[in-house]
Structures are given as structure tokens and as C-alpha cells.
Subunit: 658 residues, 2 copies
């Protein structure tokens, strides 16, 4: 089974890379920016859409509020960037929000942040891939309606690529990210020039009349109006995800690491804010209108839209209006957006296993995940992430608007906890530091983090209130589940560590008084002879061979064959009233234990090593069950004596590959 799987994996996934071959190339700022920015920048591909279509619920007048919502998002974005610049200086180790919360706020806060981040990584993949599928559908008209399938295939491919391991340097990321940035700015500038010169066309959706939802006939008024505005803001705040990526990546920067990271962070914030502003301005100028459900919310000349109307994302509507739908620049913009979204998913595939390995190191996840270098650890993380994202994509049919309701709760839990942690951090440092200049800097940092904390807390509350019913409860439930699971694992490890700690009773000098070896015999064949030789070579105080009488004729044959060997080891035949193997053996061992409880019993079991998975089914099943059962007996050790069948040689070749 293993070997078959290994061979298959080798074909699909390739040879594993040597850990130290992935040398830590330190990144200059111009490469670090695109490497860490794709997640944050890509959100302009869907965040403006969500602002527009949420406001559209209250009619056309409400949509004119979009730039103001955009400004609010930008303010939060720049505040968070300013706060994280402090984090980068204080925690250059790359531990990220989990480390900050863990150190400053305690384990519960740390675990909360970890759960939130894990869930958000899954959502990053689901949202980005679904959005990328939308852009593909924009460029290739026949693809509309297949987004869920495309996103599913995309996640599977990305998981396979990551299982294979990505060797290439940051430069692969750099080119498409810069192309994307260039595209959006070129589009904005072109649009601006057209607008100034009076040549800017209207988007096709500008002609639609919006039917407001019941209760919003008078636009954004009253409590409901305010609530809707906040909901639009919450969705727009998706633009902030990925800002924390740089703070996890400080160790990868060229020196001075913290300073370079802080500068890159500032650059990232400025670019992201400018892009949001540009897109929301152009959406306003070209009259782009978006609806959650175009069929019921839009009218064209007083009639519902024709069947088969396809609502394209904002960026592609703008690109179509500015450059002309079907023009080459249009396709470049759409393609660059799709690519950056796939890159954004990929950052989650890097971040998730790293966080999982840190959590495993702290005993919150199974120990075998702890070393990132171990392919198994990394692979399990990639598979878990992909599986989670696939469930979401399929459950929500790759609908970005629905998925976004689950999103960013986790990010803002993490932001808020980390900013509070930073405030505590500075307060603690201030108690110890006397130097005036240092103190002034720390106080300033504490103020910035304090403002960041209040800001992110406010956004978190807004997000919770406006999105809880819309789907955020699902994300919270998933976080709670992860939290409980990781806590249970940690408590289990703690309990085991206590149970197993070496104490005074456990003297390493107390040896069992005698060793009593028992050899299990079914037929007298080469594997049994090898096991017999090994058992005798260990020179036990006493050596018995036993066989279970399942079939009188076979047993008779076994006894005769044994006697022919003429060796001074007696063969005991155990009766089996149930005609089964395990109980007589267990009874024999138990009696032996009772007679001489201070002896060590070593049970020698000949085992066949096979080459094909189905051979495993026709061999060793009984041996496996006996071993499992014997493990529950204390004072009993199981010695497996393998016999390599010829068919195992091929399998070994695969095992021998590193």
C-alpha cells in the first residue's frame, strides 16, 4: 500500500528537495514587495465590487457613497500599516501575530489568533480562487457558470504544485505582480486623461436602473441605512488581508531587516490605497453598477435584464470601458488580475504549513508536523488547506459575495489581538528602559499601536455585527473547533509528558530478571527459521516455539517438519476451541506472565515484506492483529523478524529514494 502510494506520489509530486538547498536568499525590497504583496494587492480585484453591490441594495443614490466607504477603508489600511511597522521593529523573528499574542497576552489569546489565522488562510484560497475563476469567465465568455469547477481545478493544481515544492526564487513572483500594479495604474491614468478630455465612455451597466430592496426606497436613511453602510465597509475591509504577511517575513529581508521591512510595508500600503482609490474613482466616473442578483435588482428601459446577462467584475467593466471590451489592453488587465489572485492563493499555501509547524512545535498539533523541512509536515498542511478551500468553494458554488461574508473575521481577530499585544509589549518595556530617547520612541510606538488596536477593534465589532448572520458564524464555528482541537492535543501531550516523566521509581538499572522468548510458528518455512535463528542468537533464558492448532492435518505436518529440524527448542501446540488464532496465544502469554511476573517476554513474529499492496491483504493480517493485541500487555516485547519476499525488491527501490 505504502509502496504503491509512494510510486504514485513520486510521479505526481516529484522528488523532495533537500532542505538546505532552499537557501535563505535574502530579498532586496524590490523583490520582497511583490513576494509578500500579492495577497494584499489582489483584494482590489473583489473588494470594490463588494462595496458597490452592497450599497446598490439601497438604490442608485446610495452607490454614490462608494468613494467615502473607500476612503474609510483606506484610513483603516494606512493605520494598520503604521501599526505593523511597529510590530516589524519589535518582533523581527517572523513569528507574526501568533507569537505577539502568545508572548504578550498569554496562551489562550495566542491559540485564538492561531485558530483565526488558520481559518483565514483557508478563506484566502477559497475567495481568491473563486475570484480568479470569475476573471477567467470574463475573458473567455463560454466559461461563465463554470466558476466552481474552474476554482476547484485551480485549487487542486495549486496544491499539486506546492506538494512538488516550489524552488524558484522571488523573481517569478516579481514580474506578474509588477505587471498587475502597472496595469491598474495605467488604466487609472488612461481613464483620468479620457475623463479630463471628455472622452471617457460609460460602462454598459451604467444604463441600468437599480430597484432598491424593500425598506430602502428612500436610500441610505435611518438605522437600516447606517447598517448597510457599515456592511459595505466590512466587505471593503477585505482589502486589508495580507498586510500581516510582511511581518511574518522579516527574516527574509536584506539588512537592515526591520527597516527594510517597514519601508516595504509602507510602500505596500501606499500602492494598495492608491489602487482602491483609482478603481473606485473610475467606477464612479464610468458609472459601473454592481448587484448581488442582477436579474431582480436591475431594470433596463423599465424591463428586467434579458436572460443570460453576465455581470462582470468591476475591474473588467472599467477596463472594457477605458480600453474597449475585447481590446488587447483589456485582456492584459483581466489576465494580470487573474494571475495575481492565483498568487494570493499561493501565499496561503506558504503561510499555512509554516504556522502549522510553529503550532506543532508548541504542542498544539501532532508532533510529526513540527519540522517544516519534513515533507510530510508540509504535505499534510497543503492537503488540509486545499481540502478546506475545496469544501468552501463547492458549498458556496464559488460565489465570492457569499464567501466574503465569512472572510476577514479571522484577520481582524488577529489584527486586534496583535495590536493589543503590542501595547502591552511597549508598556512592559517602558517599565524597564530608562533612556529618554528610547522611551520617547516607545511611547510613540505605543500610541500608534494603541490607535491601531482601537481602529481594528472597531472594525472587528462592525464586521461581527454586520456579517455574523450572513455567514461569519460559520468561520467563528470553525475557529472554535480548531481552538478546542488544538487545546485538547496540547492537554493530551502535557498529560502524557507528566505520566512519562522520569522519576525516582524509574531506575535505568532495574533490569528484568530473565528473558523468556516465544516464537510463533505457523508453517515451518524459511521466515520461521530466520526468526528462530534470531531468537537463539539473542540467547534468551528460555526459548519456546508455539503453534495454534487450527487444522489437525496441517498441525501434524508442522510438528513433523519441526522435529526434522532436530533443534533443542520444544514446539508447543495450543488448542483452539474457537478455531481462531489470537485467544490461545494470549492465554499462553498471560499464564506465562502470571507464573513469572518479573521476566521479560519477547514474542518473535516472522513477517512477510511484500512488494504489492494487494499482497499485504493476503499476508500478515493475523500477525498484525497479534501484535496489536500483545502491545496491551506490559512486560511483553514484540520482535518482528522480516522476511523480504522477492516482490519486495522493486518496492524497496522506491523506498530508497530520499
Amino acid at each position: 500500500m505504502l509502496t504503491f502510494f509512494n510510486a504514485f506520489k513520486r510521479v505526481l509530486v516529484g522528488r523532495p528537495f533537500r532542505n538546505d538547498s532552499l537557501a535563505h536568499t535574502l530579498l532586496p525590497k524590490r523583490i520582497a514587495l511583490p513576494v509578500f504583496a500579492s495577497d494584499a494587492l489582489s483584494s482590489v480585484a473583489y473588494a470594490p465590487d463588494e462595496i458597490l453591490l452592497t450599497l446598490a441594495l439601497a438604490g442608485a443614490a446610495a452607490v454614490t457613497m462608494a468613494p467615502w466607504v473607500g476612503i474609510a477603508v483606506m484610513v483603516v489600511l494606512l493605520t494598520v500599516v503604521a501599526s505593523y511597522r511597529q510590530n516589524v521593529h519589535a518582533y523581527p523573528s517572523g513569528g507574526g501575530d501568533y507569537e505577539i499574542a502568545n508572548v504578550n497576552l498569554g496562551k489562550t489569546a495566542g491559540l485564538t489568533v492561531a485558530s483565526a489565522l488558520l481559518v483565514d488562510y483557508v478563506l484566502t484560497v477559497a475567495v481568491s480562487m473563486s475570484s480568479a475563476a470569475n476573471y477567467l469567465a470574463t475573458a473567455v465568455p463560454g466559461m461563465h457558470g463554470t466558476q466552481a469547477l474552474v476554482a476547484t481545478i485551480g485549487v487542486v493544481l495549486l496544491a499539486l504544485v506546492n506538494l512538488r515544492g516550489i524552488k524558484e526564487a522571488g523573481s517569478v513572483f516579481a514580474v506578474p505582480t509588477y505587471i498587475f500594479i502597472f496595469c491598474i495604474f495605467a488604466m487609472t491614468v488612461t481613464g483620468l486623461i479620457e475623463a479630463v478630455s471628455g472622452n471617457l465612455a460609460r460602462a454598459p451597466s451604467a444604463a441600468f436602473e437599480i430597484l432598491p430592496e424593500a425598506g430602502f426606497e428612500n436610500g441610505l436613511v435611518g438605522l437600516a441605512g447606517g447598517f448597510l453602510l457599515l456592511r459595505a465597509f466590512s466587505s471593503g475591509a477585505a482589502a486589508l488581508t495580507g498586510v500581516e504577511a510582511i511581518s511574518n517575513g522579516v527574516p527574509n529581508f536584506q539588512k537592515p531587516k526591520s527597516k527594510n521591512a517597514a519601508t516595504t510595508l509602507l510602500l505596500l500600503g501606499a500602492i494598495a490605497a492608491a489602487m482602491i482609490a483609482g478603481i473606485l474613482y473610475l467606477a464612479r466616473a464610468t458609472g459601473v453598477q454592481m448587484a448581488q442578483d442582477p436579474a431582480s435588482e436591475f431594470l433596463l428601459n423599465g424591463q428586467p435584464l434579458p436572460d443570460g446577462y453576465v455581470q462582470n467584475p468591476t475591474i473588467s467593466q472599467i477596463a472594457g470601458t477605458v480600453f474597449g471590451t475585447g481590446s488587447i489592453p483589456f485582456f492584459i488587465v483581466v489576465a494580470a488580475t487573474g494571475v495575481i489572485l492565483v498568487f494570493a492563493s499561493n501565499t496561503a499555501f506558504n503561510g499555512f504549513p509554516v504556522l502549522a509547524s510553529i503550532l506543532a512545535q508548541d504542542g498544539y498539533l501532532p508532533r510529526q508536523l513540527r519540522t517544516r523541512g519534513d515533507r510530510l509536515a508540509f504535505s499534510n498542511g497543503v492537503i488540509a488547506l486545499a481540502a478546506g478551500a475545496l469544501v468552501l468553494i463547492i458549498a458556496f458554488d464559488a460565489d465570492v459575495t457569499k464567501l466574503i461574508q465569512l472572510y476577514i473575521v479571522g484577520v481582524f481577530i488577529s489584527f486586534t489581538a496583535s495590536q493589543l499585544g503590542m501595547v502591552r509589549h511597549w508598556t512592559r518595556l517602558l517599565r524597564m528602559v530608562k533612556d529618554k530617547a528610547s522611551r520617547a520612541r516607545m511611547v510613540k510606538s505605543r500610541v500608534i499601536n494603541g490607535v491601531g488596536f482601537l481602529m481594528t477593534l472597531t472594525v472587528l465589532i462592525i464586521v461581527l455585527i454586520t456579517k455574523f448572520e450572513q455567514g461569519a458564524w460559520i468561520a467563528l464555528l470553525a475557529m472554535l473547533f480548531l481552538f478546542m482541537m488544538m487545546l485538547s492535543i496540547r492537554m493530551h501531550y502535557d498529560r502524557v509528558a507528566k505520566e512519562l516523566a522520569v522519576d525516582e521509581d524509574s531506575s535505568p538499572r532495574a533490569l528484568p530478571s530473565r528473558v523468556h522468548a516465544v516464537l510463533l510458528v505457523s508453517h515451518v518455512r524459511k521466515p520461521v527459521l530466520r526468526a528462530l535463528a534470531y531468537a537463539r542468537a539473542s540467547r534468551p533464558s528460555r526459548l519456546d516455539a508455539i503453534t495454534v492448532d487450527l487444522d489437525p492435518m496441517e498441525t501434524e505436518q508442522t510438528v513433523q517438519d519441526w522435529e526434522k529440524l532436530a533443534i533443542p527448542v520444544p514446539l508447543t501446540v495450543l488448542a483452539s476451541p474457537y478455531r481462531e488464532t489470537i485467544t490461545p496465544i494470549m492465554d499462553y502469554i498471560t499464564t506465562m506472565r502470571r507464573d513469572s511476573p518479573r521476566d521479560l517476554i519477547v514474542v518473535y513474529i516472522p513477517e512477510y515484506v511484500v512488494g504489492k499492496w494487494w499482497e499485504q491483504l493476503v499476508h500478515n493480517q493475523t500477525a498484525l492483529r497479534i501484535k496489536t493485541r500483545l502491545h496491551f500487555e506490559s512486560g511483553v516485547m514484540v520482535a518482528s523478524v522480516p522476511w523480504q519476499l522477492k516482490s519486495s525488491e522493486d518496492a524497496q527501490k522506491f523506498q530508497d529514494l530520499p
Copy 2:
């Protein structure tokens, strides 16, 4: 995992029975008949229907041929019964057709018969349960259309009952079988009396006009007519399945076994033939008409049948006509028929595992299935049978008419092979026996088996020709698959036996020159101390402890803890460039093997024995992978030193149950 599953199984399936508590109560004829007859008798519940609806394809005139087809079936039935009376005398051991074919015609024929029988057991369950679901739908009108669901549930329940084990004696089978026989005869006699007195009503379906299929406008004429007649006969031949059951059960009869079995077989044949005759007579007398697709084949007053017309099986239509639909006798007849069909399914659940264990004994199936007493063997058989039947029921939507096309190919392959085997058997005996009276008896038996062979061969050919395209190819394909699989397993076992046979080179006296023990250490905890104690107690020539450096701080701690123990065993730290565990250990062992190839290396691995399935996921994963990998090295033995965590105690309680 195991323990959780065990606990669950215990609740669902109950405690296993002790083998010798299922004492071989020898059955008198009056109990043996119902025990072995349910399969054969139950086929009157669907065989007449299939004759009628196949003939209906050629119009109303063709249906009048039904009694003649019935007579042909009865002739074959009585011939087969006569032949099997010879089998019973010649092979009283209960090996059945597989044994007869194996001994007289060789292994290929034996394996062919075995494959055919295994497939037919699966079909017996599928057909009988689907038919039982039809009868339930007849009695409870709202159930119509749910047959597939009901049959599925029925198979699952029956499988569970069988997994629990059936302890009760044959008397449980006796009562319902006799009730069923009584019901059918009472119905026939009542119908006869009504017919003679002129009071016999017409069945509701008698009023329908049959629209013949294209090509049959003139009734049963020409080649197509003959072919259809043969097809009707093939379907009716389903009445013969189960006749061989008695020949498998001879050892269960009271003495004189063979004579009693032969008498019971004759009785069974007579009853089955009489029932078919009775039902086909009454169907004719009451004018019952059946169609494969009533909506397209029937007209009522020149109009198609109203929507929602439900076609009831022949027995229930007759019972409704003779006793009145909804009368108490009507319900008794329908219920008795349903029960006997469930019993027929159950005979397959008894026969399949027995045949599987005989095949395992002969090396055609995995060895662990060989002892019937072992619950595992029996359970696997029950599960395989149920799974196969469920696939068929779901794939064919519990449609008896479609399933019957796959059926009886296997039975007639088995009949034909066994009759040919018997002819050979007598021919061989005749060469040795000189006594005149004995020779006369043998010649007579050979003639009977010879006639049986020709008859069953003819039917087999008819069945193959008329049913191949209709679905029999599926059954043949399944048989071919089983045949190839069992042959591969046998060839594998033969190859392994040859590879492992003790020869001159394998002297039991050649011992490894020295024993080199290696202890794997991760943390210095109690399990490691126990493993160390066991390793030292075995007094190896040399003992090394090794640990893999995954994390410098942890490794430092381990080394310090080890030194604190102050024992004369050196701890070697292995570097791990990949930060993974297995390769450094394998490299160490390989080097050791190369340096002293004649030594035995014993690797001591401390293992945690846990109580809950999820604990298994957070422990031992690395140990398991190391063990798997080490098994491919010759000259290396793995010694697992179990440490029982406290949580394992509960799990052990379940393991301790027999």
C-alpha cells in the same frame, strides 16, 4: 481506531459465539426440508411472472403457451433432482458442486464452478430481496415505488443479523416454510373448487388487451417466436436455483444421511413442481396477465392504462382473485411469500461464507478466511455478499425482471459441470469395481447423471443465447473477474511457498555471529528507559543509543538527560540535513550492516499504546514509518517495546473480550 471500532461492533453485532456451542444438531427430514428448501421453493414467487411477461411480448395468444413452458421447467427440475440424488450418495461430505468438479474435472473446472456459485449467491440475495420488496408493496399500497429502498434496508438488516450470528435451530425456518407451502396449496385447492363450481372470478388484469411488440403481430411464429419461447423458458428455469442446497447439507442429516437427503430432495422437487403447476394453472384460469412495461403493452377498453397503475406479482393477483383482495387469507399468502423470499436470501448468507472458507482452505482466497469458526472470516464473507447484492439492487433499481436476466447462468454452469463430473466419477469407479450388482447400480447412476448433464447443458446453452445480451454478460464478466482474482491469489501463494520452502541452504543452526542492538531515543522518558532495560536484558554484543538532531535545543536537553542517567551506553546524535527523522537512521543502519554484514541488528523502538483512536494520530506515526522502512532491510529485526498509557486501560477491556 481498532478499539473504537471494536466497541462499536460489540454494540451492533453482539458477542461472538463459541464455535463448539453451535453443536451439529442432526436434522430429521421434516426439519431438513424447510431448512434447505426456502431458496428453491421461493422462486415460484417470481418465476411464473417472468414466464408470463416474456410471453406477453408476443400477444395474448402467446400467453396461453405458459403452461407448456411450465411443464418444460418441471421436466428439467425433476431431471436435476434425479441427478442430484446420485450426487448425494456419491459425495456425502457436503462439498457440493465445487468439490465434484474439482475432483473429477480438475482445478480449472472447480474454480469456474466456484466463481459461478459466488456470483449466483450474490444474485440470489438481490433477486429474492427485490421480489420480497415487491410483495411488501403489494400488501401496503403506499410502499409502491420504494422497492429499491426497502430491498436495500432488507439486505443491510439481514447482513447485521448474520454478523451477529444466528443461533436458533432449524425449527425457526420450519414454521414459515410450511406455512408458505400450505398457503400455496390451499390457494390452489380453493381456486380449483371455485373453478369446478363455476365461481372462480377473473383477475383484474384479465380485462387488459395486450399490444404485442413489433414483429410479433402474428403471435409466436417463426424464429423470433421460438426464441421468445426459449427466453420465457430460461426465465422460468430460475425455479431450479437452490436445488443443490441439499447436496451441500448432507452432513447435517440424521442417519442414514445420504438416503434421507435423497428422499428430502425428491420431496422438494415434487413440492416445487406441484407449486409451479398450481400457480400457472390458476394464472390461466383467472386470466392473470403480466407485462414488462404495463403502460406501453396494455390497453383497457382501447385506452392506455390510467397513470399510477401498479402491476402486482402473479401470486398476489391470484390470491386477490381467489380469496378477494384485502381479505385476511390474501394478506397471509402475500406475507408468507415475502417471508420465504427473505429466508431464501438468508440461505445465501449461510452458503457464501462456507464456500469462501473452502476456497481459502484451497488457497484461492486469503488464508485468514479459511477457518469458518473465526468470526473475521465469516464476517468478511457476509459483508462481501451484502455489498455485492446492494450494488446490484441499486444499479437495477430492484427490478426483478432485469435482475433475473443475470441470474441462473451461474447455477447452470455449476449444474452442468457437476453432472459431467459425476459421469466421470462413475466411469472411473466402474473401472475398479467388479461386483455385478454394484456395477449395475453405477451404470444406472451414470445414465441418470448423463441425462442430467445433457439436459442442464441444453438449458445452459439456451440461457446463454437468450440472456447474454439481456444482462447475463454482466454475470459472466463478474465470474471471469473472480476466476482471475482467485487464480492470481493461488499462484501467489504457490510462488511464495516455493520461495520459502526449507531447503539445504537454510540450516537452522547457522546463527548470526553477533547481536548489535540500537535503541532509538527521542526524549528521555519512561518508555525509553523501559526499552533500554529490555535491550540490556537481552545482553547484546554491543548496544548503542541514537537520537536524531531535529532541533538543537531539544537535542541538547536529551543529551543532558541521558548523561544524568549515568549508564554505560553511549548516545550518538545523528545530524539531519533534511530536518527529518528516517533518512539519518536508515543511513546509520545501512553503514552498520556494511561494516559487519554477518551481525544481527536489533532496533529497539519505544511505542505508546493509546486508548483512543485520535491519540494514535498524535503518537507513533514516526515509529510506524521507521518500522515499515526497516522491514525492507535484511539482517535487521525490529523490537517494539510498548508503553501502555493510562488511557489504554479502557481499550484493553474491550480487547479482552473473547
